[in-house]
Point group: C2
């Protein structure tokens, strides 16, 4: 248990420095039983609790409020791999393991765990579960939710729920694990999980492809999935401005194509079979696509180093943006079929309001998930532009809603988007969410103020008497 202000400090701000909170203590339990004991004590005393994994979240979901009454439960010491069952293709692992540690444990069993994120060296399994993390391979393997078979969680009253089942089929009542996945710790704290493993990947093929426009990218995706089936494991759209920033700011970055254009796609095939001829398959598919006018220039990586160089162009977009300066970011999802129209409409609306707006659009178009980031070219103008974030959000998010999309595809709500949500969710849906919260956490002590506004202080007072 930490109570010293200096020792607690790293746990009280998010890593981007956007949120700063206060706590009466930071506790670091090492077992599920210790988590349960802390929760029982806090529940009895009416003390709010904030769970924290790697503290890499983007929405302030793991940062306490400024009141100073909360206890932060840092779960990093719950980091055991409890069991690997290779024949069942499952791993039982504790919430505090890093995602990279989980990936390594799978590799050690000659298996593959597909979730992969920029923060995988620090982010933890509990955070991945609590935010239903996504990443670049959702197209093929699904989100963290689809990768989960069983959970163990500590409930708001301090009881432990053991739902650590490793079954593909189980229809014995309500699927309670779904309540905790993506709930950002507001209904209970996940302490361990049983996750799916997959056969080890033996071969990959990677290509950078110029496409005439986003519509061609969507048609290329459909064609690739038909021709290459589930071997299509990543399909990323990259706008010209995004690529330009990488080439400008990242040392060693080189243009992937002689004749690139405004839009590119990074596509990857993978297979667990050693004898798959994925390079040939990818070249054949791209030739076919080229004949249909879906593809301009294209390059298939000839070796691992070339593949990594292509991926680095994609993965360094965020870093290049950071070097370029602050921007207004959106993590949105749209039905795949409607992305081209959304991009066109959003560009028109933003350019109408700010003629020199700069749009950095890229993302997991295979899942309909775009990172849609905005700034202005000149530093001074940009600072003024940033101050108008609410206006920009209104244009982008209203359009997203009009296209039946989501204002948070893979980052969750936390504190950042909690109130923005009220504009887009129906009264019926908010009522259902509140009913679930009230049923499982009636005193509102579990990560209060995240996802949903805090319950009335009166009702929290019950637990304090």
């Amino acid at each position: 248990m930490l109570t010293d202000a200096k020792e607690m400090a790293p746990y009280l701000s998010d890593w981007r420095g956007r949120y700063h909170g206060a706590a009466c203590a930071v506790v670091r339990p090492g077992t599920t039983q210790e988590v349960a004991a802390v929760v029982r004590l806090c529940a009895a005393a009416g003390v709010p609790m904030v769970p924290q994994g790697g503290n890499t979240g983007l929405c302030g979901g793991a940062t306490p409020d400024g009141g100073g009454r909360a206890v932060v439960l840092s779960l990093g010491r719950l980091d055991r791999v409890r069991a690997v069952d290779a024949d069942n293709n499952t791993i039982m692992i504790e919430a505090g393991c890093t995602l990279a540690g989980l990936q390594q444990a799978a590799i050690a069993a000659d298996r593959f765990f597909p979730l992969s994120l920029a923060s995988e060296g620090s982010c933890t399994v509990g955070g991945n579960l609590s935010t239903n993390a996504g990443g670049v391979q959702v197209l093929r393997y699904g989100n963290m939710r689809e990768l989960t078979l069983g959970l163990e969680a500590v409930l708001p009253d301090g009881r432990i729920w053991n739902g650590l089942r490793g079954l593909r089929k189980d229809n014995t009542g309500y699927d309670l694990k779904q309540l905790f996945i993506g709930a950002e710790g507001t209904l209970g704290f996940i302490t361990a999980a049983v996750l799916k493993l997959f056969p080890a990947i033996r071969q990959r093929a990677t290509a950078w492809v110029a496409v005439p426009d986003p519509g061609a990218a969507v048609r290329l995706l459909g064609m690739m999935r038909a021709v290459c089936s589930d071997r299509v494991t990543a399909f990323e759209l990259i706008g010209g401005t995004a690529l330009g920033l990488v080439l400008q700011h990242i040392p060693g970055a080189r243009p992937p194509l002689q004749a690139g254009g405004e839009w590119s796609v990074l596509v990857e095939l993978s297979d667990s079979a050693c004898n798959a001829e994925l390079d040939t398959e990818l070249e054949r598919a791209l030739t076919l696509a080229s004949e249909q006018g879906l593809v301009g220039d294209a390059v298939v990586a000839g070796n691992l180093a070339q593949a990594e160089a292509l991926w680095a162009l994609r993965e360094n977009i965020s870093e290049a943006q950071r070097i370029e300066g602050i921007s207004i970011k959106h993590d949105i999802a749209i039905p795949v079929s409607r992305i081209p129209a959304f991009l066109e409409r959003a560009r028109a609306a933003l350019q109408h309001a700010w003629p020199d707006v700069r749009i950095v659009a890229f993302g997991h178009i295979g899942d309909g998930n775009l990172h849609y980031n905005l700034s202005k070219p000149a530093a001074a103008d940009n600072r003024k532009f940033i101050s108008r974030t609410p206006e920009v959000n209104r244009i982008v998010h209203d359009l997203v809603a009009g296209f039946d999309g989501s204002i948070s595809a893979e980052h969750g709500l936390g504190q950042l988007k909690r109130d923005e949500l009220l504009r887009y969710k129906s009264v019926v849906e908010m009522d259902m969410m509140r009913a679930v919260k009230q049923a499982l956490d009636p005193h509102g002590l579990m990560n209060p103020g995240k996802v949903l506004a805090p319950v009335r202080p009166e009702s929290r007072g019950d637990a304090e008497t």
Copy 2:
């Protein structure tokens, strides 16, 4: 609305004739708004409501109790395909569509909907969702839950929740659709859904394979998944007794192999690519498996008719059992790795209690799901044996629980397994289930007595005043 006893009769018994109930009326709404209007009226009058789709369930989940106060809502008239979005690989469809109708709508859009069940000509999408249906392709595509992106449901107070999103990534709060999937209509009535589609399947390869024992089948599964990846779409284990009954009772059924043994596997590869050489791939994988001692004799279907004949051996097991006579059936799941030990232990325990017990074991071993059915050879003995079902269930289900398995893999609970569940679920888990039920359906009017025991009559009285 039907109130005539003769007209209502088909809606008041399940198709196996195990459950018989009573109702004050059967209503057949044709739109979501009509469902909502009926629910509002029933809620106001405190009348219990029982939803029904194709009435093909195996656990009595769609049959009202004998009280006669209930209204049955038969949703078969909600049968429109609202939209197909081929580029987004989604279909928006109403709850009363048959599964076969859904599969056909996918084919018409040059897409594939993978869920496939024996009752697909009659069972409906709403029932598939409410029981989280499984079938033979879960190994590759998941259960109905994994195939669902969005839902529309009528809540217990008659309000309509529109959650018809067609997004692969959406993390804006609790994933409320998960509450309704697999809840057997106890939390609200599903009226429509957005479901995933997949590229049309262009090629299949099918083989019947003799394996030395279930352990070899599990190792063969692991090897096939590594070598053939997701092209493995079905992997069924068939015991010798099951095959024997098919050969005995089904006209035209022929032994698939010259030298079969006690255990067989039916394996299918499929791919959306036209030029996949799946027969060659399957033969190569089986040769490799044979070198490792995992496979005895094997036959790869040379054409569609041969493939269909092999599948008919598998699909006619239930019919052959029906002809042979009544048996005690179990729909169970076990971690794949533990199936061989379970089969051994269960056989020993049952033979100890009944030396001449006959075990018909088969099922989706790729998902850990076994249909484990028991009878005795002589008709008179068997009738006596059936009367001891509770004793038999105790042996089988206690063993399943000991192997961390499930007593209902894909058929749900309904009335049949509701009370059996109490023996195997923890108090914590039952409390959570009841809390969810109480939060969403406080008056207990939605399909009462299914999944959970009915709430106290007192609390139901509230709505009647």
